[in-house]
Symmetry: C2
Subunit: 686 residues, 2 copies
């Protein structure tokens, strides 16, 4: 561009040299893309984006997502140049213990990192969620402002790589972005045709631009990573197209201008080596004998972003204050949501159920809870991966979130709507939920069958790593779903999900525990970093039990029915979800034999394990080693609590296609089995 | 078509009525698609496909994959009409205990079902693997025959739904199919625009046909599920295009001709109700008061497939016999592979390593094993999801599998090649590996980082459910990968994978255990149904240990170094992979304190748990309750073996970005920690 100065050119080359030096110093990392994307990243950070290095949490900022997280230096170097808090010493400490510059960008660890990325595809998919959240938040806070005139209007920028483009989660999310007509989303696809196995031609021959056109995106192509004019023009064009997401295919040469390694797979994920780094420096007019060379006038120039950011911020603040003055109620909502507070007395609307042997399915109870909360918690929104009626995820009376032309006979769509429709795209759903919570203060949930938590796992794990408070509604949580058979019956999923650090797996025993579970989840998630929660709910009706308590559920496990403390033969029966009723029934059977059983309902092992030792001992006294666990799933998570003499009643193999009652009987998940196991455990305990 | 008789018409309508009746009888299921796809399915089974109902395992058959597995009746009804073994009583027993007609089609359970489907996307993605396998097998057995002239030439037909199209795994696999130019693959996309949330417009607005054109497929569109002429013409066109996979977008009306429910989401996954079923029968000229009505002349007509199949089979046999006579060596290979036998003395080529404190990474050892096995086991082939050098998955000297125009500077591609390049598409890789083993007798493997087993999980689970002997090479199996940080460091993955019934998770302790692990895996997989195996391998070097044995590895756990049986204070130290060395070192430390430790190497908990009680007791005697487990991962799978007094040395949180040595030290996964835990456990055991 005309105003591109010698200092701009030098700053871009400085970015390249710093990337090469940082990787060379630690001996490993990804220099190539950080070099070839330097002009683009510099243009975005210094010229395109509205942001303020002094306040990386500014609500009005544009968001930046580095979907190709391995190229973390692309981001770190701009955070350094722009003055977001990183200094040269941080770049020198790349990928070392305790540094602010880990191998992949980590949210909450390094200021200015909007989201943790690295597992390919997740960043772009979550960016779709950010763009959706931006529209929903605008709808909550400033729905009537003309387009582009609200303090809540801004853009989401993404840098994506060939690897992001290959991953299926990106395909899913990109299709959703097209359907949602997300005009606030701009994806720059760094098409360098190189991945770890070198030239991608060996594995990729599709026409990516045509694919994005098929998704309904606005697509442009720019030749050359050095073509800043073309890049900036394309971004301006993209911003001007407000009814479609934009895809800019930018053809670059990885590791440009490394003389022997550019355009090779070796430059992707390895240090270039001292001679090549020196050669790069020579080509760019840097001293080959110096490392981490930054000219004073260059850093002074780039840190000018602090002033420009402050000015942009002040300008925005005027608009925001005017909005606040005009919209006191919406401002109050904005403040409440930003503080992650819940309104006074919100729990009063929660439904409750009388003890009832017939009962209802916990998925149905969950649906009642959502519809009850809908009017009092506008921050709550969500939907399903095409299983709305099965997951009971629709808040009664809510419009669907989507452009009006997405409407169907069944769903009334409007851009600020509340019901989400992910289609049969569970993985994108997971990533989008993360993007929504990364973007702002709303509270999203998404449903599918527990079985298909497998499809979402990449996104769920990353949410847990970030502590992101997404909510997954996983119904049809055992063989209790019946006839759909083993392809749809979770057996190992509770164990596999409980294994994820930071994810809370909550499996309520009945309708009231379901309401208490929602209460506990929303309470806990007042603290953003309490992480994601998966509610595991039954398809089949389960009795409404006596003795359930909100406090017990919040603690993860509690005494639902106690023993006679004076009894000689005492046993602990613990279980979760639809199997708690079996423990309750077995307790009666055992009482007839003179065995006194304590039933411990365990809606959330993760929360229970966070309680203090005294509480844990009060629920599961060490002295009582006769123990039974019951869950229609593999026993793996229970052994820790079974001890030497405990006996699990579990399902260690796949299910079958038949009605639920038959399956529980045939597979021995019955109150009789629980009673038998209790006797066996008592015998073993001696 | 001209020869479409009244009996053909009646047979198609019979298929519709049977589908409606079967769902109505059991009260649940998916009638709609089975009704609207009846003409297509009938045309495929009765007219298009070369198959023999009397021998569903005939090598020369065309394969049929029902990717929309929920529409199992589409398949079951044709298996009944064609005489593959299902009878009317089986259709009447739909979705009930013990029936041959479970909710979703299950391989090995119902004759004629080529692959278990239901979780959407998996079928189509695995069909890509089948088409790849067909080419590779032809290359092994009959590489020189002109196109279409070999007994090993046939087609893979897929019926896919809107849901299959939305799932990312399909996008990944379809891109691979385009790259591979799989002319033997024909996908019919049942575009009925209805999913469970009714009109898909709420979640899907892309141009699917254009997307498939972008992948490089041959794309056709056919209007109307009743348009048999158009369908058959399109299939003939598809078969004629041999250098690209074919995609036929078939616009249908779900549940046609149900008068009130066709074209609605309700007809997708619920019984239509008696009045609607009766109305369908009236419209089609069936007696509304009869259920499961099949005219004698209809079933006689459709069972004519038995004769036509036998004739086709005999015709093919002539060609096959001629091939066998001309190619005795290839025939011998074919016979060996079909029997899943391994050649005599094959284990002699396996490398071995001397005891060495420096050692090598198990991923590197695995690479040596593969290159050693390459020349003697032509059935072994595989590759990586763009991590070939990191996963060490390339057999030395092997060509890449792909059209010649896929070649790059680094890879020589040819259609019968051996090295697979999945791109960064782990989920498709998993499904494709399943498709390859479902198709024929080769033995495929696929690599990625253990972290990204999460992305593959849908496919891995389905492989385990089928007992399919795929091999996953999962390297970088702990914080030992170092600087890439927590996004790439598995912590929960070993637990989460061990939870999957039927999957063997194998984590060898050193180079020799790695070779023994490959040996055990290939031996075990002589039996197809032993299921998939995941080899979990280190990035970092680990010592070559004394005491490893092939027999011990095959048993899953064994005594690597024993205690003094007369010692008073005895402890068991058990662990897997890179942490076994810590147990070995701790054993020395403890010996100095007068504590005698047995080190149990546990390369595969799954295999160990399959051993008889006597062996288990011999390795882990009940009387010794002082026990320590050590694994740089969560302890969940170990509690079962730790008992009341055991102490895990584990990692219950996420990792960090730093070098491996620092991480093991900072996180307390050290021989010192093992020794301390041993003392603690001894104290607890009293």
């Amino acid at each position: 561009p005309d105003d591109w100065s010698e200092l701009d050119r030098r700053a871009v080359d400085t970015a390249r040299v710093l990337a090469a030096d940082a990787v060379q110093k630690v001996g490993n990392g990804h220099p190539g893309t950080a070099m070839s994307l330097a002009p683009t990243a510099y243009s975005l950070f210094q010229r395109v984006m509205r942001h303020d290095p002094a306040d990386p949490h500014w609500v009005g900022r544009d968001r930046f997502v580095l979907s190709c997280g391995h190229s973390s230096l692309t981001l770190y170097v701009q955070l350094y140049l722009g003055g977001f808090g990183l200094e040269l010493a941080d770049l020198e400490a790349l990928r070392t213990w305790g540094s602010l510059t880990p191998g992949h960008p980590e949210y909450h660890h390094t200021k200015g990192v909007e989201i943790t990325t690295g597992p390919l595809g997740q960043g772009l998919a979550s960016a779709v969620g950010m763009a959706m959240a931006a529209r929903r938040e605008r709808g909550l806070f400033d729905p009537d402002a003309p387009a582009g005139q609200s303090p809540f209007d801004h853009f989401i920028y993404v840098l994506a790589s060939d690897g992001d483009i290959e991953e299926g989660v990106t395909s899913e999310a990109s299709s959703i972005a097209g359907r949602q007509q997300l005009g606030n989303l701009v994806v720059i696809y760094d098409h360098n045709d190189i991945s770890i196995e070198d030239d991608v031609n060996i594995a990729l021959s599709e026409d990516v631009a045509a694919r994005y056109e098929a998704y309904g995106w606005h697509v442009q192509q720019v030749q050359g990573g050095e073509n800043v004019t073309g890049i900036l023009e394309a971004i301006e064009n993209a911003k001007a197209v407000t009814d479609r997401p934009s895809f800019i295919e930018l053809r670059t040469i990885i590791a440009y201008p490394a003389p022997t390694l550019m355009n090779t797979g070796k430059a992707h994920g390895s240090a270039l080596g001292d001679p090549e780094v020196a050669a790069v420096k020579k080509i760019l007019g840097f001293d080959p004998d110096r490392s981490f060379q930054v000219d004073d006038e260059v850093i002074a120039h780039t840190r000018g972003l602090l002033d420009r950011g402050a000015a942009a911020r002040a300008d925005w603040q005027t608009g925001f204050d005017a909005w606040a003055a005009k919209n006191p109620q919406r401002k109050a909502l904005f403040d409440r949501l930003t503080a992650r507070d819940l309104p006074d007395g919100w729990t009063k609307v929660l439904p409750s159920w009388d003890v009832d042997p017939k009962g209802i399915a916990t998925r149905a109870a969950s649906g009642k809870v959502l519809s009850a909360l809908g009017p009092v918690l506008p921050e709550l929104w969500g939907g399903s991966a095409d299983l709305a009626e099965s997951n009971n995820t629709t808040i009664e009376g809510a419009d669907s979130f989507g452009p009006v032309d997405a409407a169907t006979k069944h769903w009334n769509a409007q851009p600020y709507g509340r019901t989400l429709h992910f289609g049969i795209r569970e993985h994108a759903m997971g990533a989008i939920l993360s993007g929504i919570v990364m973007h702002g203060p709303t509270r999203p949930y998404g449903g599918t069958f527990l079985q298909f938590s497998d499809y979402m796992r990449g996104a769920v794990r990353l949410a847990a790593l970030m502590g992101a408070p997404a909510i997954y509604v996983w119904t049809h949580d055992s063989i209790g779903l019946g006839e759909d058979g083993p392809t749809h019956q979770p057996v190992e999923h509770l164990a596999a999900l409980r294994a994820i650090p930071g994810l809370s797996v909550v499996r309520p025993a009945d309708a009231n525990e379901t309401a208490y579970a929602w209460q506990a989840v929303l309470d806990r998630q007042h603290d953003w970093f309490t992480g994601p929660v998966g509610l595991c709910l039954t398809r089949q009706a389960v009795p409404v039990l006596a003795g359930t308590t909100a406090d017990g559920v919040a603690k993860g496990a509690y005494i639902l029915a106690d023993w006679d403390p004076t009894a000689e033969r005492k046993v602990i029966l613990m279980g979760s979800g639809s199997e708690v009723q079996l423990a309750v029934a077995a307790r009666d059977t055992l009482a007839a034999d003179g065995i006194s059983a304590r039933v411990v309902s365990v809606p959330c092992l993760d929360w229970f394990e966070q309680q203090d030792a005294a509480y844990i001992e009060s629920v599961l006294p060490t002295a009582v080693t006769a123990r039974v666990s019951v869950e229609a799933a593999i026993a793996q998570p229970w052994w820790r609590w079974l001890g030497a003499h405990g006996t699990p009643v579990s399902l260690e193999h796949y299910g079958a296609s038949a009605d639920a009652t038959t399956l529980f009987t045939k597979f021995g998940i019955t109150s009789q089995a629980v009673a038998d196991a209790a006797r066996a455990s008592l015998a073993a305990a001696g």
